[in-house]
Symmetry: C2
Subunit: 475 residues, 2 copies
């Protein structure tokens, strides 16, 4: 059997290297290193080992061997380190800058004095932390839970998502993903080639816009009103752009809260079918429906031929760190999306899937959702009342408002007066202690009017009212 | 305040819709539905509500309204559902097939009778499951742990990785990712535009090859021998291809186990610098060093100007479902990679990060690594002895063998005789109850010889020997 030690390498050179590094650090350029003999004695090592340690330092440019004379501290080691020069990177990276700023702003955790009307997540007091903690603690100790998981997810988790989606979805149609953003990325990457057009609503979820742009896709906007996306303009845009991919949130859309009207569903699907396109149905907010009108079933139900790829997440109705979502797809697209997931990160961590499954299967989950909806309804109404009181009657704006009081989700979408600057207002608001989200990043192109998005999830009613008061004061 | 119910939608139409669905299911095409008046009485609902329920079914193509005559079951509802036609998808998806098969084969969990010489992960009995379970159970109940996390990861986790990498890496250089495959994907996506060339060793980790291809990159192979990648050919390939990105595993490379020789490090870095290129240094196996010769420090140490982007993972030395890794980068590249991570999946789940941090900070982690190395050494030696006994003396193959007995990692890379078919042999082996991995998927282009990769991590010595016996029997 061969001896691995015959390969060039270092055998226990660590202490000698460390010793020499210390010598070099204290020495000046050109100083002579201790001889091989001295180092052999000092470290009780053989000559080959010492030579390997010296070679290691030489390879790093710290010392120079001068044959027959010894080894010397190299010039570069003793001068103060020059500032690193990263400028070559700008050329190597090229012009494909990735804009994550709008998403990052959503993720920021402001200090407690600041009133948050901007976050996309439930605050800690509305998260089912006790149930989650108990479920994960149990999952963490289950045999096999730390092992590799099936690429498409745990069978139980897939069954749960299939039942939640309905419309004939089976566990075999489900691919479990690590959160909604990851699921969107997989769909966008899998279903469209770089450079292709993807149709989005105007406005639409900014995380989808950024993911599309990062992948070299061209988001093409189609106006949405209070009844959801306009089917006539969708058909027009599909034809005009040649897009084979549409991204919609048909229920409680972020940011404007609209739900696609029943009357439009058939036309939307007909336009998608006529274009031979996929429709990514991002159903992130269905679990946050706030009562009547109840949301219509997923478009997935009305699509026998695999045009609709449905995306569902457990993060929104539970907690930000329960990063479990699902893609539901049929046909060759399902195979491609599954392959894309494997190549992207192999599988979703076992304990998280087990905990998520226990969470949603427990009776406490229904109770959590009921309580959550009640609290969100109160907060929505409180925020809407404050907006009406502080920013002017909502009714006056009806003609130009994208959507009225949303029947679900966590956002109010407030139109500003013509000429108001949404970003400037958001900056002034932040300085005044209230964080709101400007409307512009939710549009793929020019917005039709200035908007701000006000989220009612993260604060109790009295702080929502105080926040709007602060906002009104800086308009 | 506006009334949300004025938007078109459904108010408590659910029971009526369900009733009508049942009617439709039992009816023939053309049958008349109960009248609006009948349905109003049956469900104690107003006419608008009933009309909305009917519209919902009409939108799904289940019923047809014939003005003045009533509503009738649509033709399509009563015929047996046609087989779905997904053939349009093939055109929409285009020719960008994603090949995940080789990775998927690595992830398969074979039945217990089968001897596994193919997995890339530690088996359950070598995972620190008790420590992991306890750490995660504690983390699951920590306040705030379910909330959103910083995009770049927990401060403690970043500090850990910075210290593990050394060479002046700071916590600020670290981006925490959900597993090594995700980290590689982020680096490949962030550092090269679609269509660009990326230099890889031949052979190289197949997960990197598949990730590169999935992103539209062109993997360009450069031969590696028992001393790692050939610097002269690397410089040549960089020049020839115009690549600005190199992917290497300089320590205990997968599959061939080679460690880049000290003498080659300066030349490799010089070639990368001369090309103005990035070098992704995938250091997945450092923690699985099996004693002398100890591995040299990361190339990251010798790179002041930000060419080396270092990737480190906790998965390999712990357990498959501890999906925590890190990218360490400096300069504008670090900003781009961080932005890419945010757009890809926002952040890594809090409890997993907290558990990983507790795991690696505990004294038991060192003890785990010591025990693990001891067991892996025994298994490596047992597998090598079995290969020598069953497949012929390893020494006889020295001239053409890529690397001898590996000084770390979990793989033996065994050259077959000229003309042997590695994939056919793997198929025959599987039929004989031993899973081995053919060499071909580890090469970006034609392999110089047939190989099989034999992993010694997953089985005890006696089963390793039995596995090789089964393999030898089907050659």
């Amino acid at each position: 059997m061969p001896n691995g030690n015959t390969a060039p390498g270092i055998i226990a050179t660590g202490p000698i290297v460390a010793d020499l590094e210390a010598v070099v650090a204290d020495a000046a350029a050109g100083d002579r290193l201790p001889s091989v003999r001295e180092l052999m004695a000092r470290h009780r090592a053989g000559p080959a080992t010492v030579q390997r340690a010296i070679a290691a330092l030489a390879a790093r440019g710290l010392v120079e061997a001068r044959p027959g004379r010894g080894t010397f501290v190299a010039a570069r080691a003793s001068v103060p380190a020059a500032a690193p020069d990263h400028s070559w990177q700008t050329v190597a990276l090229g012009p494909r800058a990735i804009d994550a700023d709008p998403l990052e702003a959503l993720l920021q955790v402001p200090d407690p004095d600041v009133i948050v009307l901007s976050t996309g997540y439930l605050p800690a007091e509305l998260q089912p932390v006790a149930a989650l903690g108990a479920a994960l603690a149990r999952a963490a100790r289950r045999p096999g839970v730390w092992d590799r998981m099936p690429a498409e997810g745990l069978a139980g988790m897939r069954t749960h998502f299939a039942a939640a989606v309905g419309g004939g979805a089976t566990a075999g149609d489900v691919i479990v993903c690590p959160g909604g953003q990851a699921a969107l990325g997989t769909c966008l990457r899998g279903l469209a080639a770089p450079g292709a057009a993807v149709i989005v609503e105007a406005p639409t979820y900014l995380g989808a816009l950024l993911a599309a742009r990062t992948q070299g896709l061209r988001p093409v906007p189609v106006p949405a009103d209070e009844h959801g996306v306009r089917p006539d303009l969708l058909a027009d845009a599909l034809h005009e752009s040649g897009a084979r991919l549409v991204y919609l949130q048909p229920v409680h859309a972020n940011p404007h809260g609209a739900t696609l009207a029943l009357e439009r569903r058939a036309d939307v699907l007909a336009a998608v079918r006529a274009a031979g396109a996929f429709l990514i149905e991002d159903d992130a907010f269905r679990e946050l429906s706030l009562g009547a009108p109840e949301p219509p079933p997923p478009l997935f139900h009305d699509d026998p031929d695999g045009h609709v790829v449905h995306v569902r997440s457990l993060t929104k109705p539970s907690a930000p760190s329960l990063r479990i979502s699902a893609v539901v797809a049929r046909g060759p697209a399902a195979a491609r999306l599954r392959a894309a997931r494997i190549v992207e990160d192999l599988f979703v961590s076992g304990p998280l899937q087990e905990a998520a499954l226990e969470l949603v299967a427990a009776p406490a989950w229904r109770a959590h959702l009921r309580r959550l909806r009640k609290v969100l309804r109160e907060r929505r109404d409180a925020l809407a009342a404050a907006v009406e009181e502080q920013l002017g009657p909502l009714e006056d704006r009806a003609a130009a408002r994208l959507a009225g009081l949303p029947s679900g989700g966590i956002n109010l979408w407030v139109r500003l007066d013509p000429g108001e600057d949404d970003r400037e207002l958001a900056r002034r608001a932040a300085a005044a202690g209230v964080v709101v989200y400007p409307g512009r990043p939710f549009f793929a192109a020019e917005p039709p009017a200035p908007f701000v998005r006000l989220t009612y999830a993260a604060e109790p009613p009295e702080r929502l009212a105080e926040g709007v008061k602060r906002l009104a004061a800086v308009r």
